[in-house]
């Protein structure tokens, strides 16, 4: 049996790998009922799993533009040794987006960018996202795009070809099994194209299939908490029929490579 799995079953936590959950959400959720009414529950959950880092974004629309990023900054300052932010920028509020990105890059609270075309009723090839994807590379920020479906993956593929200096993360691996396989095939070829395993349905053996196609070094662990379950997400990796070194890569090492600021963090400045 996998030593990591054995350790978990014995101790209820992971002592041999300090996982990085690079896909967290903060802010209230109304569309469906979730038990996460306070982000402190997410940090508690991260600690129960012995996590080293969580990367969080806030997609909610507040009266003030970029208020979500300020809320994320506040969370990071409360938990500076556990949390970092992903800058959320909306195509529906484009004014000042590049300045916001620059400001976030200076703050040490942020390590990447989160973009969500579907949330905004937009297409992934909207010029706004193209501009942000290009600019993100200047700050060493990888860009996590929400993707769901073959069209999203095809458009992200185009972006990755067009901007080779930007690291692209295909959120949810494109969501559906055949699309996930296509995303892995792209990941196998393009150095700057990674798969985010967050909240794909736990189809039997899909993790193993993706590892076989693109290699364990191209897949990142995420949970979608406080929308979705972190416990179930970790279970997918722990129980997968891959080696412990591959599990460690997915749970931790890949994120430290993709997010350079996590590997070499500066303490966030105080307000």
């Amino acid at each position: 049996m996998s030593r990591l799995l054995e350790e978990y079953l014995e101790t209820g936590t992971l002592r041999d790998v300090a996982l990085v959950d690079h896909h967290l959400h903060s802010g209230k959720v109304s569309q469906f009922y979730t038990g996460g009414d306070a982000f402190s529950q997410v940090t508690d959950n991260l600690r129960r799993w012995g996590a080293s880092w969580g990367v969080v974004s806030d997609l909610n629309r507040y009266p003030e533009p970029y208020a979500g990023n300020r809320k994320v900054e506040a969370l990071v300052r409360e938990q500076p040794s556990l949390l970092r932010g992903a800058v959320y920028l909306s195509a529906n509020r484009p004014a000042g987006a590049l300045e916001e990105l620059e400001q976030c890059a200076k703050s040490d609270c942020f390590v990447g960018v989160k973009l969500h075309p579907e949330w905004e009723g937009r297409s992934l090839d909207d010029p706004f996202y193209t501009e942000i994807a290009c600019a993100a590379a200047e700050y060493g920020f990888p860009v996590l795009f929400h993707t769901w479906g073959a069209r999203d993956i095809a458009l992200l593929h185009n972006l990755a070809l067009r901007f080779p200096r930007t690291i692209f993360l295909a959120g949810h691996c494109g969501g559906e099994v055949p699309v996930m396989v296509e995303a892995a095939q792209i990941g196998a070829v393009l150095d700057n194209f990674y798969l985010d395993l967050t909240f794909t349905w736990p189809y039997a053996e899909i993790t193993e299939r993706l590892v076989n196609i693109c290699g364990p070094h191209k897949i990142l662990f995420g949970s979608d908490a406080l929308w979705n379950s972190m416990d179930g997400a970790v279970g997918r990796i722990l129980f997968a029929k891959i080696s412990d070194s591959e599990k460690r890569r997915i749970l931790q090492k890949n994120a430290l490579e993709v997010y350079p600021r996590l590997a070499d963090p500066s303490p966030p400045t105080t307000e």
Partner: protein, 245 residues
């Protein structure tokens, strides 16, 4: 922790593309690998390639207990009711599964009443996938047959507000846990309706055991609550039907 899976299957459909070649062997291998003690198992082929053959293909064995897929009596597809009852008993069936949507029949009492009566007589739970019936039909089935325990299988996590309302409205409704994937979903459901209403399930071989198992083990619940979900509740529901011995 001992786990008994109430939502496993064997068999293939024409549309299956990524499933293992031999789902039955795969299921049993994965049960052993992931520490699953026993499973209730239905045959996916029954909904596409013949009810009788599909049901009969699941032979009760040491760790697998059949769940039969049935349709309303009206079309006479399963023969006389008394013979069906005998066949169900002989096959050591431990549940009945209905697919009103895929197999195109109404869940309403005027169509399925005799099936629920049979389930009540044999003390068998009735499993219905969330996507197979609307919430109102599920409530009416539960309210109309208070002596039958109905398990909502594979409930989509984003429909959890429906599920709370249903479980609060009908005490004979239960939830299978494979797709309870919202953050702290398990904990909140236990707080609201009680751990005694949740049954561990996997969705195998479409879905996998890992997240289903850690979803229970890692939940912020007492050991007693986890035991109820992992195996205790299903064992209690099946006590009068012959248990899982």
């Amino acid at each position: 922790m001992r786990f008994i899976d109430c939502n496993a299957a064997i068999g293939s459909l024409a549309t299956d593309r990524y499933l293992p070649q031999d789902p039955a062997a795969f299921l049993q291998q994965e049960m052993s690998r992931c520490g699953i003690d026993k499973a209730l198992c239905w045959n996916r082929a029954a909904i596409e390639s013949g009810l009788e053959d599909g049901n009969r293909a699941i032979v009760a064995r040491a760790r697998l207990f059949p769940v039969w897929v049935l349709v309303p009596e009206a079309t006479g597809e399963w023969g006389p009711a008394d013979q069906l009852k005998e066949r169900i008993i002989q096959a050591k069936t431990r549940g009945i599964r209905l697919f009103p949507n895929k197999m195109r029949f109404p869940l309403a009492s005027w169509a399925t009443g005799s099936l629920f009566n049979l389930a009540e007589e044999l003390n068998l739970p009735v499993f219905i996938d969330w996507e197979e019936a609307d919430a109102c039909s599920l409530y009416e089935a539960a309210a109309g047959h208070p002596g039958v325990n109905i398990v909502i299988a594979s409930p989509h996590y984003r429909n959890i507000r429906y599920l709370y309302a249903l479980l609060q409205a009908a005490s004979n409704l239960y939830l299978e846990t494979s797709l309870i994937k919202t953050f702290r979903g398990m904990e909140q459901l236990c707080e609201s309706v009680g751990a005694h209403r949740l049954l561990f399930g996997s969705g195998m071989p479409i879905l996998e055991y890992g997240p289903a198992v850690t979803g229970v083990l890692a939940a912020d619940l007492s050991v007693e609550e986890k035991k109820l979900i992992a195996h205790g509740n299903l064992e209690r529901l099946l006590e009068k039907a012959g248990g899982l011995g």
